[in-house]
Structures are given as C-alpha cells and as structure tokens.
Symmetry: C2
C-alpha cells in the first residue's frame, strides 16, 4: 500500500522525528487526514468568471492545503441539475456547491437578500454588509436549518439593464412588453405591466432575434457580448437597477464543514474571500474590455434609463420587497437589517465613492 493510499484510508499520519539524522528538508506539507470532495455548480461548463471562479476556488484550496482537500468540480447538470445544487449540499450528497442565493427563493425566501435585490446594495456595499456589518451572520442563520454554510464567493458588479428592441421613454412603456427577466426584477417588471417570460439560456438569443420577446437582461458586457445579444436588439440600457451587484455563493454541507480541523476551515474561508475579490476584479476588467468592443466594433447604442422611469420602478421594487419580506419571519428580519444598513452606508457612499465618480465622470462620459 502506498503511503498516500494508506493515509487516505486511515486518515492518520504518524510523525516521528528521526533525531540525529540529517535529511534534506522536504518541501511538502506533511499530510494529516485528507478530504476528497465534490462541488456542484449552477453554471454551464466554462462559463467565464462564474464556472471559472468555482474551479479557481477548488484549485486554490488544493494548493493551499497541499492536497489535503481535493475538490472535484461539476458544472450544472453534470452531476445534479443546476437548480438541485442547494438540495444536494443540504442532503450531504456532495460537500460543496456554488451558485447564487436567489436561486433558492422558492425554498428559502430570505435567501434573496444575500444575492441582489432591485435598487439594493452595490458590490462593495453588499461585501461591507457581509463582512463588517452582520450580513454574513444573518445568512448563516438563514441557511443553518438546511444544514448549509454560506460564504460570498464572487460578485458580478453592477449589471446592465438589458437589451431592448424599442426605446424606453417612460414607465408605461413596460405595459405589454415581453421581457425575459427572472426573480425579483421580473416581479417589478410584471407590476409595471410587462409580461415576464422565463427562458433557458440557450433560447434567449433566438427568442429576442425573432421578436418572441421584446427585451432581455442577461449579465454585463462580457457575457452579453458572448451571447451575441447586440445582433438581436438595438438598445443596450443601463444601469442594471434589478441587480446592482449580485453576490455569488459557495456553500458547504454544515456537518462536513464543522468536522474539519480549524486550519482547513480557515483556508476555505480565506480562499472564498479571495475568490470573491478576484471575481469582482475579473468582472470589472473583462466587462471594461467587452464594452469597448461593443461600442467600437459593433456600434451598440448605449442608453441610460430615464430618471422618471427609474423612479417608477423603484417605487414598485419597494412594494415587491415588502411583499417578499412578509412571507416569513426570517425574510422580515433580513429585509429590516438590509434596509437599515443600506440607509446608513448610503450617506457615506454619496460623499465618498459617488462624489468621486462624479468628479471624474465627465472625462469618461460616452458623449465625449
């Protein structure tokens, strides 16, 4: 039996110091118990930053633990269906999952606030809430009954408002508009009189091109460019009021996580936080490049949603969130905490990031 095989089976490394013997220092970390884990994700294979980020997480964990934790990653559908990720981790079928918390809204209504809500926190806002204002503890509370431990693992940045085949001048223009927009954003569009259409990713482009739908949101310039949406609709609207900084999650089966020695828990947590930062940085850099390509090569027309239209959507979003919050006690608790934090950080944001952005804005404005 080889040493590694033996260690895997018994989980034991007996360490004996051979006094008086001089041996070249081994550059490897002596092994304790090892863990062969599986991770299932909600993303298609090779999806930039999202599936790639989940794979990066697994690779970094293996490197940092010198192989003590090896995580085999399965894209959506390869082992369990994309929407089965939470249940698989909850049941312990697999040890790890990766996705976004709003996918579990049907089962865990309060989960929605931990990804993104319309007119909610921006990327650094939600990170600040998680790490320095109690948000992550609330998230842990909400997932604990399901035997799941959550960690932020990425962020899409402020998303784009979507691709429209007609100009949007006022809130009333949503009346009768057929738009592919899932989740809370969809509920808001529906309140505005739109017809919300749910489509799998593979059918979005064709449906938009053929006019089966009038509009769709997707993610941001990077992913929208890859899907070719600029060929199917003329107007590219901003900002993405419905998802202003969507947090992606890595989730662990709680029993498996709790059973780890402290140092391995710390490594999982550190690598999750590192991947969160990496993911937002990748999204920003690649979105910046893709936007240039959309503007210069594909002559895409960027349009800002009119202020009045946004004001109207914001009122409807507020109603939607209050309705969602009334669904159960955890949702109410999370909604109240989220609102309170948003209120406070908003004042600071308005005189720091926002004020600074406005100073440098003219230089970068698309008008010149």
């Amino acid at each position: 039996m080889e040493r590694r095989e033996f260690l895997k089976k018994t989980g034991v490394a007996a360490v004996a110091a051979v006094a008086g013997t001089t041996i070249a220092a081994p550059a490897i970390w002596a092994q304790g118990k090892t863990y062969q884990w599986k991770m299932v994700t909600t993303w298609p294979p090779n999806m930039p930053v999202l599936q790639v980020g989940a794979e990066r997480f697994a690779k970094r964990v293996e490197e940092a633990t010198n192989g003590r934790i090896k995580i085999q990653v399965f894209a959506g559908g390869e082992l369990v269906p994309p929407m089965g990720v939470f249940d698989a981790v909850s049941a312990g079928t697999v040890q790890v999952g990766s996705g976004a918390s709003y996918y579990w809204a049907g089962k865990v209504p309060a989960a929605q606030w931990f990804s993104s809500v319309p007119f909610g926190l921006n990327p650094q806002g939600i990170n600040t809430w998680f790490y320095s204002a109690g948000g992550l503890q609330l998230w842990e509370e909400v997932y604990a009954p399901f035997n799941v431990v959550p960690r932020p693992q990425g962020n899409t940045g402020v998303q784009m408002g979507g691709w429209f085949r007609k100009k949007m001048e006022k809130l009333e223009d949503f009346k009768g508009l057929k738009m592919r927009i899932p989740g809370l954003g969809g509920k808001v569009v529906s309140k505005a009189g739109g017809t919300v259409v749910l489509l799998p990713a593979g059918e979005i482009f064709t449906s938009l091109e053929r006019g089966v739908i009038d509009a769709t949101e997707w993610v941001g310039p990077l992913h929208d460019l890859r899907m070719g949406l600029y060929k199917a609709a003329q107007y590219y609207y901003y900002p993405g009021w419905h998802e202003p900084g969507t947090c992606l999650e890595v989730i662990f089966n709680k029993k498996e996580y709790d059973a780890l020695p402290k140092e391995l828990q710390t490594i999982l947590d550190a690598v999750a936080m590192e991947t969160n930062m990496w993911s937002l940085s990748e999204f920003e850099a690649r979105n910046g490049e893709a936007l240039q390509e959309l503007i210069t090569q594909h002559k895409v027309e960027l349009v800002k949603f009119p202020d009045e239209l946004l004001d109207g959507l914001r009122k409807l979003a507020k109603e939607t969130l209050e309705e969602e919050a009334a669904k159960d006690a955890p949702s109410k608790k999370v909604h109240e905490a989220f609102k309170k934090f948003k209120e406070q950080i908003g004042v600071w944001g308005s005189i720091s990031e926002n004020a600074y952005y406005n100073v440098i804005a003219d230089k970068y404005s698309l008008k010149g």
Copy 2:
C-alpha cells in the same frame, strides 16, 4: 529535545506511516518546517483597521497554517522606525512589513502609483488593476531589485478632502493656505500656491486648533473623528481627490518568500487578498458610522469642493504626475500602464457604478 524544538532546528519532519496500527485521527495538521517571522509596520499601536489589519493578517496566517508560520507584529517604532520598514524587509532584518507604497517614493519613485495618486483609481479600480489587469506584476517588477515582494493588503476607501478653517470657493483660495498634506497631494497644493506643512500625527490637532495651519487632510470619518479634528476646524470637505482609494501593502523579503513551499506562499497570498477585502469593508462600515456621529452629534458642516476648484486641481495633478513619471524608467512605465487602464475602466465605471450611484443618490443626499 521536544519535537517542535527539533523541527525548528532541523527543518525536517520525517513521516513514517505505521502500517497495521489504528490510531484516532489527529485533528491537527502534521507539522513540516516551521517559521518564526517578524513583521514591522508603519502604523501606531492599535491604529484602527491599519495596525489592526496587519495584526489580523498575522493571526489568520497562523490559523491557516496551524502555526507553521507565526508572525510577531511590531507597530511603527517598536522595532524599526515607521519609515524604516521597507529597508528592514529589503535587508532581511525582518521577513514581513506592512505600510503603504508611497512612503518609499524617495527610494522607489515608481512605488507611488501602487498606493494612490491624485485623481487616480478608486478602491475597486486599483484592485481590478492589480488582480486582473497586470498592476500587481508591475509592482513586483518595481520591488524585485530591492528583494521585496508586494501584495495589496488593504484599502482606505475614498478618503475625505480634509478639514479647513475657511471656505474654499475657488482654486485661488489655496494661495497662501498653510495645509498639512503629504505626498503627491501636497505637491499639487503647492503648485496651487499653498504652503505645505509636514507634521507628525501627534501635532496635527494642536496645530490646526491654534491656527498654525489653516487646513489638514487625514484619512476619513473614522480616523478623523478619533483625532477630534471637528473641534479644530469648521468645514469638512469632500471628496478626497488626493487619495481616492489608497492601497495598503504587505511586503515580504523575497528570499524568505521564495524559499517557502508552494502551499505556504498560497496561504500568504490568499490571506493578503482576504485582508484587502476585509480592510475596505471595515473602512466602509466604520466610516459610515463615524460620519453619522460627526453629522448628528458634532454638527459638522460637510462641504463639497466646487467643481471648478476640482478641475483646477486636476490639471495641476496631471502636471505633477507627468513630472514624477519623468524621474526614472520604471515610473514612466508604471504611469503609462496606469493611465491606459484608468482610461478603459473609466468608461465602464461611468455606466455601471457611477450611473447606479446617481440613481440612488437623491435618497441619500445630505440635503434630505
């Protein structure tokens, strides 16, 4: 000789698998070579987020390595003077340092671009540059001749513009103004006709209160509140054009870093990146709270620098940066890369974060 002591002296753990014996799995990570390191910082003892962040880094590294790397942290002056940190790490007197790269401008002019420059990148902008657009590789290049490896370890967020005893209406109001503002910001103020005064932290409050200086910048609401600056000057200006997102660094002696096994390098890198995210989140949350206190309890008058004044400063900042870039080849290279990246990310920022901030801004505006 105890096992740990033996390992420290020889750097060797001979691992023998005791086949056929069943032992309860040890919950600890078997030890390889251990490292007893020292870290010196540029910060006063207990300085919120900054010194606290350096200590957090050391603690997390010890946890993640299960004690294989132990880092003893010394605040500024405890082992070496604050401005001696870079040299101590470069010479190998200590293995680790923590500070901000612009402190080393006298020795390494190109280092300035890796902390913050006037009218430069905001916090996520500089992180994106480092992690996803080649910035960190450039930084490594610039420090390599000094035997130093840099990693971003924190970010102050957009700083405040400073405390002024008189209103600033136009660029000409800087003429004859005595202001404590170090670094590139100071050079810009000097170009505008101001008299730049350099003072140690302990003398800032008294100097401002007695009118020895007319104005000072410090950090942001959290640190400014603690220093009591609201008692010494009436007007609190924003935004901090001179430091719009200052990156803090952790630096390693290159020989020590390179000699580590791969898994320990990965842990240092992951914990540095985690601490970077933690630091900005802490700054944002605590600045948000401190700002509320300044406004509600201390009735501080917040004032935005007039646009024209900022335009004037921006022109002078551009001149200043071009002059600095001309100092040596590395500075020129870094400056050009920084400018190019800033230009590209600026367009994306203007339709994502900036546009979204402006949508939610009215709700949080200080006017009501």
